[in-house]
Symmetry: none
Subunit: 238 residues, 4 copies
DNA sequence: AATGAATGAGGGTTCATTCAT
DNA sequence: GATGAATGAACCCTCATTCAT
């Protein structure tokens, strides 16, 4: 049915059992009371948007709270009405991007069971989402390297993908399409890492400058498929 | 002769063309005048050792210069006799570890040409070196995410491995052992990334807790070999 | 007729000449317009009750206005409908307790003129009232040490007792029961201070842990009586 | 030999067993490393002197750190070389005054055993010391009402006097000079409180304005003596 | 060379009070 | 009257770097 997917929702509706209630990207322990009025909600949103702009422009460490409030055109005090500190706005910024990052709404390989095609579509969706949020990912790396709470958050985000893909791999093994000798979880860890790492270095940092996006997708897909010994155009058995 | 290697020195003496003069891990613009007297050299070494201890204990950002001088049992002022700032000591700390990290002195798979065996040995050497310096790698990630000079340094370090491995892949392709359809440089980028990423997450961060080291080596090797379609025990001779 | 009394109302009706119009515990310049509607009165009372809870829990300085409004389950803005600031609620809190503190409603040593008995009853009544309001007295000390207006208030409260007791002493001297050599006012100052100080340290702060309340009363009474050379069971009649 | 004494050292050399090593007025847990150089010691002293001036002028709460450094003519940073915060300088200020406050070097009633005379001398010494440090005592009251650590410090300071005086009382009782019915510790608590309280209100706050100092001494002494039933001019038995 | 005190700009954070809704 | 968001002056504290001794 489904296969390796960084994000695909081929098994939509059935993964409610994965991460519990809803995999929040924000550490719960630093959440401020949410605003009550409409004006409050608007202000909060403005601050989050401003924060994203400032963070992406200057990085987390070099962003001063006043930069954010200046960008949001409000007073310092207002910031503290909605957040307790810089970490907390950053968590809110991530929260906003979360949906797009975890469920890139992949290109729906409608009507195919070809694992290779599904894999490719899934990779493409993941990489496209990564590209859209590249600046944010750089930020996440930065903050994760500084603050353990965000390190944990990054880990959880990673685990979501890893488990999802481990399932796909196990599934393919069961169907006799993938190398049965390989531990699905560890393989997923390695291959998911391969994809996210390459995404980070090429899409976020701009390493290996000018790699063609499609080549990126196809190469990663081919390596992934090869690694698991998935036949290129596997007889898409009915 | 040689093959995929993260670190091997099978091609020793031939990499002079890589990074120019001498692949130093320290950004040149950070270097202080070296000490002249012998006592000075000792002091400097003590400071570097102390810095490593402090950095590994508290992270780069939370390490204060006074923490380092206190650990080194010397005055604040003395620090500036040997280094211009925190970045510079950190560069020196990395420099000290450089030898071990770039040239893990792999076990020289003496007398074999089997690409798979060479690959495995090479991966093992890399991962062992990584494990030895895990704390430092976490630090490098942290500092690279903060300071562009170290980001560049990390990039260069990565490129060293990537090019080395790209060369091995091209070589295997020429010998008809590896999938010729794949771009060696991009594949190397992806696979080297896979290895270093998994090393980081399992060995440095302790993710996927308790993965057996040998399983790590063999899984990565198998995935790598599969990805390139290298036969497991390819009759590599001739 | 009457004697040393920290609070007794043996001389009720005659103290109109003490502090002017009405001995209010609240500095007049702090007073807000009183509420008009009935709902307003209730609100105000709720805020005062909440303030007392919060003040006693956190002390004056650490109590934030929002703590009080949160405790009173009303908005920040509403606070300012009834009070101008923190000092003013505190004054209101004291006002509420004033009756109990100034006029402990002592047990009316009915039908006796024995100065010793009256003294003891009076001390007991004072200490009992002190015990009931111990937390508030700690607060008063705190605020008095911070705000001159409350320092003045505390002084006036003290003077009330001091003058009352000075009168008793003078009376006893006139009757030949107390040491005539002593200045009644200064002696009252000293002895009233002795009582209130010991009340503060033992009942409010818990010093000299576990002093029995009755021992406290009898010791203070004995010391007071001795100090003035009042005979223990003086034939006080006539 | 000796008798009630707030400070007297009639029993000098024998009280080493009272409070242990040395009754420090400063909470140990907030002490900064002492300066090493002479310049450092001077600076520290200047800051303490400046702090005392500022504290006495503006009170603890209204004194800003910059007021102190301005008064001491040094930078903000220097302050933190010697103290961690306002509390700590205040502790240092108290420390400096400690000697004078705990051991006022009483007027040495040389060659007399008359308890009354000793008592009077002792009270005089205490009150003189109090007068000298009146402003500081107001400060101590203020800070103690705010910070539990100083509340504890005040308590300990008080206990020193209380225990000292309790001994004297017990001693007099043994010698048949004082009322044996009274618990020495509680009596000491009450009477020591009487003295310190009156000292506070008259000498520090200026209540009962213009009480003559000698009258203060003699009245307190007489009340104290009376309270314990010490004969005015007890037969100073040889 | 070594020491450790001196510097001070700069940031985060608080919270009483005001005011638009 | 009630609400709760908005304000921003004020202050504490940090710490890399310099410099007198």
């Amino acid at each position: 049915m489904n296969s390796a997917s960084h994000s695909g929702r081929g098994d939509a509706g059935r993964d409610a059992d994965w991460d519990g209630p809803a995999p929040s990207m924000a550490p719960a322990d630093l959440l401020h009371d949410p605003p009550v009025t409409q004006r409050g909600a608007r202000r909060r949103a403005e601050l989050i948007a401003a924060a994203r702009v400032v963070f992406e422009r200057s990085g987390f460490l070099d962003s001063k709270l006043t930069d954010i409030t200046r960008e949001a055109k409000c007073s310092t005090g207002s910031f503290y009405t909605y957040f307790n500190n810089k970490e907390e706005v950053f968590a809110a910024v991530l929260q906003e991007a979360q949906e797009d990052m975890l469920h890139p709404g992949m290109g729906r390989v409608a009507g195919t069971d070809d694992p290779y095609a599904v894999l490719e579509a899934s990779n493409r969706a993941y990489l496209e989402a990564y590209r859209r949020n590249a600046r944010l990912m750089v930020l996440l790396e930065q903050v994760a390297s500084i603050d353990p709470r965000f390190r944990e958050l990054r880990r959880r985000r990673g685990e979501t993908f890893i488990r999802r893909n481990a399932r796909s791999i196990a599934d393919l093994q069961k169907r006799g399409i993938a190398d049965p000798e390989i531990d699905p979880m560890l393989a997923s860890r390695a291959l998911s890492g391969m994809v996210s790492r390459l995404a980070y270095s090429t899409l976020a940092l701009g390493d290996g400058d000018g790699v063609d996006f499609d080549v990126l997708v196809s190469t990663l897909t081919r390596l992934w498929a090869n690694a698991l010994r998935i036949p290129e155009r596997a007889a898409a058995t009915t």
